[in-house]
Amino acid sequence: MKFTLSWLKEHLDTTASVAEIQRTLTMLGLEVESVEDRAAKLEGFITAHVLEAVQHPNADKLRVCKVDTGSGIVQVVCGAPNARTGMKGVFAPSGAHIPGTGLDLKPSKIRGVDSNGMLCSERELELSEDHAGIIDLPADTPIGLPAARVLGIDDPVIEIKVTPNRADALGVLGIARDLEAAGLGRRKQPDVAKVPGTYKSPVRWTHGYDVKPGVSCPIVVGRHFRNVKNGPSPAWLQQRLRAIGLRPISALVDITNLVTFDLNRPLHVFDADKIAGDLVMRQATPGETVLALDGRTYTLDETMAVIADSKAVHGIGGIMGGEDSGVSETTTNVFLEVAYFDPIAVSAAGRKLAIQSDARYRFERGVDPESVWWGAEVAARLILELCGGETSELVSSGIMPAWQRSYSLRPERARTLGGADVPAAAQLDILRKLGFGPSGEGPWSVAVPSWRPDVVGEADLVEEVVRVHGYDNVPAVSMPRETATSRPVRTPEQRRVPTARRALAVRGLTEAVTSSFTHSVLADLFGGVGDDLKVLNPIASELDVMRPSILPNLLQACGRNEARGLKDPALFEVGPQYKDATPTGQRSIAAGVRYGKGQPRAWTGPERPVDAFDAKADALAVLAAIGAPTDNLVAQPKAPAWYHPGRSGALVLGDRPLAYFGEVHPDVLAKLDLRGPAAAFEVFLDAAPPAKARPSKARPALKLSPFQPLERDFAFIVDGTIPADTLVRAARGADRAMITAAQVFDVYAGKGVPDGKKSVALSVTIQPAEKTLTDEEIEAISQKVVAQVAKQAGGVLRG
């Protein structure tokens, strides 16, 4: 919403500076976005008198002018066809910067004749696109005055951002009302006195439906004008519209625009001679069309309000008028429409038709319904004044919507809700200046004015009081502390996310954050998604579903990094994946991809590609960090289809998978156009059982054996398909009291080992508890290991 300072002052008697007005508006909630000082760029440009304009001796199209600037006479060579002796124009002296061309003027010789300065066109001053000739000022213009003042652009243009609730501030009147309440002057009442009609309107309003609460247009007012002359509007009006970025069109159209922005009262004028009989406010019939003022034809449906006569539609209610009945320079008889449209109906129709207009913008936020009456008077006064003619009596149809309402306001709520001590008298003053009608002794009953549809309860009234009183005047109170100890922000389960992130970063993976969307084609490679996870209005076709896994995004990111020449990316993300659209369908996952070399080329040792054990280590590190019982996990070859079937696994607790890991399936890499290799993991952060609640932070007592542990090595020949873990578990279980660890330190198949078999070497740790073991005792334990491995894994001690 834009307006000029002088325009504001038509509504407000104030001596406040622009800076003060700017600050006050912002702190009232009418945030000032910009203050444009249009005069600044015309600094030094003055009005001047062309004393003489004669033909240039060496150029057909140039004239040599003697220009009186009020402080001297200068010679200017001018190329404008309208330069003539005796005219008044805008003169830019040497040294001036011409805004429209971006050039700095210098004294020069043009075809051998001295030229000092320039007579300017509108385009050169950025006033309009007109460059047909230089500005031709009225003959009575005094010379030597600042051009900005004469051109009517010497006052600043203020632009404010109006929040959707403040429809009333979409007119200068409403802005002035807020400023008055804030103590920045006294408001002048606009002249809304009745303009008596001199005849009965030949056009009448009717409704095409029963007017009940909730209809799209509850009330419409109109009046007829005859013998008007619709020429260009006067300079003051044109300047005002131009200042806010509107193009002056004709007096009648300019008046409707002025009233729209001045009083937030949209109007429409019809050429009455193009209307057949009476006008009806009705709903469109499906498929009905109208050529609107923007030159486009719209097809309407039954949810849209239209203004029609017996033959055709002449406007889309609250949005835009029709082209065929619009006013033109030849219009002599006019019919004025002043309607109130329901905000929801206008919003819905405007959205369907994709029309943005100043009328829609206002009606969908809420126009003062009472303005149908006074708006017709204000418009009539302006039309008669600027276009002559005479006006009819008012005609109307429908009933005034019931906008009257009151809310109770407890004076202490300013303090107990708003945090501000505002004396009762000051509260009443604020409310009255804003147009509210408080009554009673407190709690007050506060009547809401017709122009504030946004105020619907006590909290809104408190906001009015506190915002005008000033948020700056609300004392800040730090949050009172509630507990002696700081509570952790996250529960232990919630803490798994930051723990997993830090654990993976420590392991050399770099954290990425990728989109929750993926492409349906990729989603299908990762288990696919149901219809409930398809985005109906995706931002791009390759982001059309919610991701069923984080991996496709990370793999694509690895590919992008590789394409940038960044080798061996290792990326992880801790975030959501989606199984279905219910709240429990979203799971928290720590996923990662190591791509390319697990050990890069280096002088310290051979390089190697990433493999499943890189990913297994990452997964185990996350699980250990979040407190999962890693000793009880079993790695089984049960990873989903996007992993290499033989080089992947699941880390399972009981029958619950806590993580998947492995090489990425070559088909998946090929579909993603990646060379690979890639090893990936997915850890389900919510799957690990919660830590047991403990009564205190104390750890269990530490028992240390005074006896040295000893290690015995074994090598077993087993079937090639037996998981090494089976041997480890068999060895560990052989003597639970004495054996504290068993580790695989070698696996071998090939020469010396029968076909289909492998040799697995274990190192078993024996921890004596009570005394040093004798050789016989150690041998006995070793025999138990051999026996258990034989029993559980079919292992034979290697000779």
């Binding site: 702190m27 909630g29 945030e31 929040t163 959707p164 905000p343 929801i344 959205r351 969908e364 809700l417 708003g418 945090g419 501000a420 909290a459 906001e463 506190v466 948020y471 609300v474 800040a476 949050m479 502390r481 509630e482 700081s486 952790p488 922000v489 996250r490 529960t491 992130r501 830090r502 654990a503 970063a505 420590v506 050399g508 993976l509 954290e511 990425a512 954050v513 990728t514 929750s516 969307f517 409930d532 996870l533 398809k534 985005v535 209005n537 931002i539 919610m546 990370l554 990094n561 940038r564 960044l566 990316p569 990326l571 801790v574 975030g575 989606y578 659209a581 369908g585 280096a602 310290t604």
Partner: protein, 370 residues
């Protein structure tokens, strides 16, 4: 006798010479064996001892023992010399080019979004806020209706909201356009309602993903917000101001940063306030702190009575405030990240440049940021 003495002095001089001449452990051992071994010359002398008359035996025995000790000492001394020399020779040979790089290993980095969330949590945690969360895929009721969004509110229109197919019961499903639906989910929680009824105070922060159908220089279809909610019986706008002023100062680590509260409008708060912090732009570079300019950083307000009502709380008893803030936005301001879209590009160069060490855990006492 003299012959024996003569012998003894020859053995002595020859053995000591052999010891002195030994340059390695093997030669030294040969010298030792030659003198003190089973068949060594000194051992041989000892063997002659029994054949001597008793009066000579003692004196000769002493002399041979002395010689034996002398040779042993010489052997030890020579051994130490040889060891020292061989260590010196080994150390001389063991030279590394210490300019060579170490074995390739790297530390990863943390994304600024998570780090910023942790920083925000550290500040609000100190004020007694706890973490709450809710689903990214929301129903229309939680995302809009409960939050007092009128049906015709622009944010409910197609151009802002991502839609998923409606639920079986006809409820429209959306990707949450803000973290605010978690306000409703939290207030509707029976345990929370009981805690409030018992006179407790609800203080939650809700960091999370949010979605809008915007994509340009300053908008990405997915972004992050943190929501805050305080509900009890007495919290008013003064607390809102105090809480958010304290937050802005702690988070931006500028003690006296001016914080401005401006009236604004959000459907789910009344009164509402936009919060700005002071800043200046010197030479195009942003400085947060007292200056001639303001930066909008969060939206806030007292929870609208309709929202309380929708969530089963009586607005005549309970009140409080809520706020919402864009995490990328505050991260960009604090850490000087110029372009929002780069957050989600996963460019390793960007991640390493703007990322954080895993060891930098934000806390108020340990330092919010380096």
């Amino acid at each position: 006798m003299s012959e024996t003495m003569d012998d003894l002095s020859t053995i002595r001089s020859e053995t000591l010479a052999a010891v002195a001449a030994a340059t390695d452990a093997r030669a030294l051992d040969a010298a030792r064996v030659a003198a003190l071994g089973k068949n060594g010359r000194v051992t041989g002398l000892m063997k002659t001892l029994g054949a001597l008359p008793p009066d000579e035996r003692k004196a000769f025995g002493q002399t041979v023992n002395t010689l034996k000790d002398e040779i042993a000492a010489a052997l030890d001394a020579r051994k130490a010399d040889i060891d020292r020399a061989s260590l010196a020779a080994r150390l001389e040979a063991e030279r590394l080019d210490v300019s060579l790089p170490v074995r390739p290993e790297r530390m990863g980095t943390l994304h600024p979004i998570g780090q910023t969330i942790d920083e925000i949590c550290a500040v609000f945690g100190e004020m007694g806020f706890v973490w709450a969360e809710g689903p990214d895929i929301e129903d229309d009721w939680h995302n809009f209706e409960a939050l007092n969004f009128p049906p015709d509110h622009p944010a409910r229109q197609m151009q802002d909201t991502f839609f998923l197919p409606p639920r079986a019961d006809g409820m429209p499903m959306v990707l949450r356009t803000h973290t605010s639906p978690v306000q409703a989910r939290t207030m509707l929680d029976k345990r929370v309602q009981k805690m409030l009824a018992d006179g407790g105070s609800l203080r939650v922060i809700v960091p999370g993903r949010t979605f809008r159908t915007d994509s340009d220089q300053t908008h990405t279809p997915m972004f992050h917000q943190v929501e805050g909610l305080v509900i009890d019986r007495t919290t008013h706008m003064g607390h809102l101001k105090g809480c958010l002023t304290d937050f802005c100062r702690a988070f931006f680590e500028v003690d006296d940063v001016p914080v401005r509260f401006r009236p604004s409008y959000f459907p789910f708060t009344e009164p509402s306030a936009e919060v700005d912090i002071g800043c200046s732009w010197k030479g195009g570079e942003l400085r947060i702190g007292a200056g001639d300019s303001w930066l909008e950083i969060l939206g806030s307000g007292m929870v609208h009575p309709n929202v309380l009502r929708h969530c089963g709380l009586d607005p005549e008893i309970y009140q409080g405030f809520a706020f919402g803030m864009g995490i990328e936005r505050v991260a960009m301001l604090k850490y000087g990240v110029p372009d929002l879209r780069t957050f989600f590009d996963s460019d390793l160069r960007w991640l390493r440049h703007y990322g954080f060490s895993a060891l930098d855990v934000p806390s108020l006492t340990g330092g919010l940021s380096r």
